[in-house]
Symmetry: C2
Subunit: 370 residues, 2 copies
C-alpha cells in the first residue's frame, strides 16, 4: 500500500545553511538513482525507499551491470522504471541520488565515474555516505565549474547537549525500534504517518537517517552526529516538531547491535518516546553482516527496550511491525498470529498490508498516554 | 595515594598522524594548566587529574582571578604549585594545557587571551574541547608563525565499524561505569592500574576521554567520534591493547544520563568488558547540571548495567568505587559498610584509600573469567 506524499516544510533544524540545502531535496522531480553494481536488496536500501515514496519523481535507475533487467525484479519496487547504463540516455535529469547505504558509509569505486559525469553535466548529486562528496577537492572544483550542487545529507554541525527537556504534553511521541539494522523501521514509521494522515490526523514522520531525510527533505542524520551530541540532536529534533499531534521518530540500529547500539540508545533517550513499535524481520536469526552474532528473542527485546527506554520516560511497546519479505502471504499470516499470541500485541506487515493495525494501536494508546 | 607514572608507548590507534601528535603529550615536563575563571571542582576536572597524575610536570596554574590563593584549597590537588596571572611570570614553559571539561566543550571567552599569548610565544597548547583550536584560522596562522603546536586531543578520524570481534581470551577487560558524569571513573581506572602495576601485573589504563588522554598520552576520545563509529572505536581500542594481561577501560557518562547514555552504551558494548566497577558519588541525588533529573539507586544500576552489558558479552559488577568528597572520613567508612552490605560487593574510595580493595576483587574475578 505505497503512497506519495509531498512533505510540508517544517522549521529548520540545527545548522540553517545545511537545512536549507537539505530542503532542496523536495524540489527534485526528475531523479536518477545510482546503484551501479549494487542493485540488490542487501545494498540498495535507499533506492528501495526512494522508489516506494518518490515513485513519480524517479526517471531511471543507473546500473551499467544490470541493463535490460527490471528494477522491480531486482529490488521489489519501481514497476516500469528503466535501468540505464549512462545519464546520457536521459533528458532533463535534475538530480542523481546515490542509492545505497553501506555499513561504514564509503563510496564504492564503481560509482565514482557516474558521479563525476553527473557533476560535469551540471546535475545535482545527493548522497547519504559518510564520505562527504562535497569535501572531495576535485568534485568540489568540478561542481563549481558546472553549477552542480552536491548535497551530503549526513553532513551536520549538531552541537545540542540534551537537557532532559520537558516536551509538549499534547504531542504523542512514537518511536520505531528493531531487533537488527535494515528490518524496516523507516518504512514502518513512514507507513504509519501516511495512514494517520489519511485519517485526518496531524502526524509527522521525523527522519533520523540518510534515506529518511532524502524522502522527507528534513531530519537529522543521527548516526553522523558527534557522539557527545547524539542524545541532544534527537531531543532537538522532537523539540522542533512537537507542534504536531503525533510524531513518528524513525529508529536506528538495535539496542544489542555490536556496532550501532550507542546510536540506538542515544536516539531512544533523546527522543523520549511514549510508545514503541518493535520492528523485526521474520526468519532473520543472526545480525546483518555478522553471521556469528545471534539475535535475541522478541520477548527479550520487549523487556530490554521497555526497561532502558523507561529510564528516561515511561515507555512501552504497543505494536509489532513484522517484515515478511522471506515469507509467502500465507506464512506471513501464520507468523503474525503466532507472534501476536506470544507477545499479546498487535502485529502487522506494513509493506504488504499497510499500517492500519498499528495506527489503531497508536490511537488507542494515545488516550492513556497524553 | 596518588602516584606518578611515565606511560610506556603502546601501538598507535586509528589515525597515525593524530596518534603521533597525541604521543607528544608525554614529552612535556614544564606544563602550565589554564583554568582562568574556572578554578573550582565543578569545572576543573582536567586540572585536578593533571595535578594528581603529572604533579612533577606542572609548574603553575594560570588563573588571573585567583592569584594569591592556593591551588590545593580550590581544587584539592597541587600542594605547593603556584597560581599565576600570566605566562610571562614563568620561564621555560613547554605547554599550556586547557584545564577544563565543560559540557558541550566550548572555549570560555575568558581563556582566549591566555591561549593566544601562549601561541604567540611559541608554546604548545593542548586542549580537550570540542571547539578545535587547531581549526581556528587566526590561531593556526599565529602557531605557524611562532612554531607552536596545537594539539586537540578530541580530534580524531575514527572510522572503525564494530564487528563483534573475538578478543584475546588471556586479556581481562575491566570497565568503569557510573551513576552519573564526573564521579571518578577515570581516577578509579587509573588508581586500579597503578595498584596492579605495583603488584607486578601487566595492567594498562585505556583512556577514552580528553583528560585520560592528556595523562596517558594515548587513547580514543570516544565522545568525539562520529556516532556510527562509536562502538567500533571502543572495540578497536581494546584490539590495539589486548596484549596486556589486564586492561582498565575508562568509562564515560552513565547508562541513564539524558545527554550521554549513547556514548556510555557504545563504549560498553564496543569494549565488551568481563567485569565492571560501578563508580558513584555519595550524596549525589540528581544528575550533574540537571537538578530536575533524579539519579536511580545503585541497586537499579547494578541490574541495568549487568543486563545491558551482557547482551554483548557475559559481564558483572565486581566492585564499587565510592567517591566520598562530600563526606568526612568517618562518614565515608559508614557509607562503604552500608553499600557493601546492601550490594554484597567490595567498596572503596580510591581517592582516599587507593585501589587495593578493588585490585583484590579484580584478581579474584580473573580466576573465573579468563
Amino acid at each position: 500500500m505505497p503512497a506519495q506524499q509531498i512533505s510540508v516544510a517544517d522549521p529548520p533544524i540545527s545548522n540553517p545553511e545545511q537545512s536549507q540545502l537539505i530542503s532542496r531535496i523536495n524540489g527534485y522531480h526528475r531523479i536518477v538513482i545510482l546503484t551501479e553494481a549494487h542493485t540488490n536488496y542487501q545494498y540498495a536500501k535507499t533506492a528501495i525507499a526512494l522508489l516506494r515514496y518518490r515513485t513519480a519523481d524517479v526517471v531511471a535507475v543507473l546500473d551499467s551491470t544490470q541493463v535490460g533487467r527490471q528494477v522491480k525484479d531486482l529490488i521489489g519496487q519501481g514497476d516500469g522504471i528503466p535501468i540505464v547504463s549512462s545519464m546520457k540516455e536521459l533528458d532533463d535529469v535534475d538530480a542523481l541520488f546515490v542509492g545505497i547505504s553501506p555499513s561504514g558509509g564509503r563510496l564504492p569505486a564503481a560509482m565514482q565515474a557516474a558521479i563525476r559525469e553527473a557533476i560535469e553535466a551540471g546535475i545535482d548529486v545527493v548522497s547519504g555516505l559518510h564520505d562527504f562528496l562535497s569535501e572531495d577537492v576535485e568534485l568540489k572544483q568540478l561542481a563549481e565549474e558546472s553549477g552542480s550542487t552536491i548535497i551530503d545529507v549526513r553532513k551536520n554541525n549538531c552541537r545540542e547537549v540534551a537537557r532532559h527537556a520537558t516536551f509538549n504534553p499534547q504531542c504523542l511521541r512514537i518511536h520505531t525500534v528493531g531487533h537488527d539494522c535494515s528490518v524496516g523501521k523507516m518504512i514502518a514509521s513512514k507507513e504509519i504517518e501516511l495512514e494517520l494522515i489519511r485519517r485526518g490526523i496531524d502526524a509527522r514522520f521525523l527522519a533520523t537517517g540518510q534515506t529518511g531525510i532524502m524522502i522527507a527533505g528534513n531530519g537529522i542524520p543521527i548516526d553522523c552526529t558527534v557522539s557527545d551530541f547524539l542524545n541532544g540532536s534527537a531531543e532537538q529534533l522532537v523539540l522542533d516538531h512537537q507542534h504536531h499531534e503525533i510524531v513518528l521518530i524513525e529508529g536506528q540500529g538495535c539496542i544489542t547491535h555490536p556496532a550501532y547500539s550507542g546510536v540506538t540508545l542515544g536516539l531512544l533517550h533523546g527522543s523520549a518516546p511514549h510508545g514503541l513499535i518493535l520492528c523485526y524481520e521474520a526468519g532473520r536469526e543472526t545480525v546483518k553482516n555478522l553471521d556469528h552474532v545471534p539475535i535475541p528473542s522478541l520477548k527479550q527485546f520487549v523487556s530490554l527496550y521497555e526497561t532502558i527506554a523507561s529510564a528516561r520516560h515511561p515507555s512501552k511497546i504497543i505494536g509489532i511491525a513484522m517484515n515478511g519479505r522471506r515469507l509467502t502471504p500465507e506464512e506471513g499470516e501464520l507468523e503474525k498470529q503466532k507472534v501476536s499470541a506470544e507477545l499479546g500485541l498487535p502485529v502487522c506487515d506494513v509493506f504488504r498490508d499497510g499500517a492500519a493495525v498499528l495506527a489503531d494501536a497508536i490511537l488507542e494508546f494515545q488516550k492513556e498516554a497524553v
